[in-house]
Symmetry: C2
Subunit: 167 residues, 2 copies
């Protein structure tokens, strides 16, 4: 396989930017910027997320546990970069960002434009990231999009001309 | 769960447009437009694809078999719509689109801007679509992008103001 061709072709996949949040039930919260997300079924409503194998988020997850995906808006590049770094939990703030608890207990960033809470239905440990499959169990729209919802979300290409996570 | 909130939030996920191709080894080829694709690992290079449970493509796939993802360019809306319909195989054309065989034997549309061939490493049958996890085993760039690769691919939002597959 030509490594350059693989890199270029896989980088054609467009991505939104999300903050994946967890609460392991022992007082440990995590929030991390992720982009490898796709829907994977309508009924039940499933998503598949690539989650770094050695991350706090992954360690908090098991089949039956919950996670949140907080969608970031076009003007929230700073929030995306904040959660590339380890989360600092302070009161009701995660790395300075106010949050509240969703119905499943996962943190939801107040500033996100929408958020969906998932129950983990399967995890496939195939590589340096694991495929976490989650069923949507609650959803919240904090800032209704004016046009297409997929035009409102912050995208990988908005983070910088040479910023990629993929390939 | 509020059904409208779920729909709006899940439709924030941006998607590229791909033609998923298979050859079941018994002379049956399939090609279908898909959008539920994400990378899922760097090493090995994995993707996760949501494939309709009752589709020809899904029936041709099992762990160890192969599939292709042909990336469509911004000007290939017609090709996307062509493969929303059942594939007509005629000589070395799929629904009128010339193809060649990749190194794994899967059809690759000559007109696509890039294509990646995958070996299926796992399938999770969780809903009306199954999560097919594939490891990239070969990759081809037919039309090198001038700028960012993710700016060259046809996107769901390019297909029409009210065209969505998700939510």
């Amino acid at each position: 396989m030509d490594a350059d061709a693989k890199k270029i072709a896989l980088r054609m996949i467009p991505y939104g930017i999300y903050v994946l949040t967890t609460d392991d039930g022992k007082g440990n919260l995590s929030a991390a910027t992720v982009n490898w997300v796709t829907q994977a079924s309508f009924a039940p409503p499933l998503v598949a997320v690539g989650v770094k194998a050695d991350s706090h988020g992954r360690h908090a997850l098991a089949v039956g546990s919950h996670f949140g995906l907080c969608m970031l808006g076009k003007d929230q590049k700073d929030v995306a970069f904040t959660f590339f770094k380890p989360t600092v939990v302070e009161g009701m703030k995660l790395s300075g960002q106010p949050y509240h608890k969703g119905t499943t207990g996962v943190p939801i960033l107040d500033a996100s434009i929408a958020a969906v809470e998932f129950r983990v239905s399967a995890i496939v440990e195939g590589g340096d990231h694991h495929v976490v499959i989650g069923e949507a169990v609650d959803a919240h729209v904090m800032k209704a999009p004016q046009g297409r919802p997929d035009a409102a979300i912050l995208e990988m290409k908005d983070l910088g001309d040479s910023v990629f996570y993929g390939g």
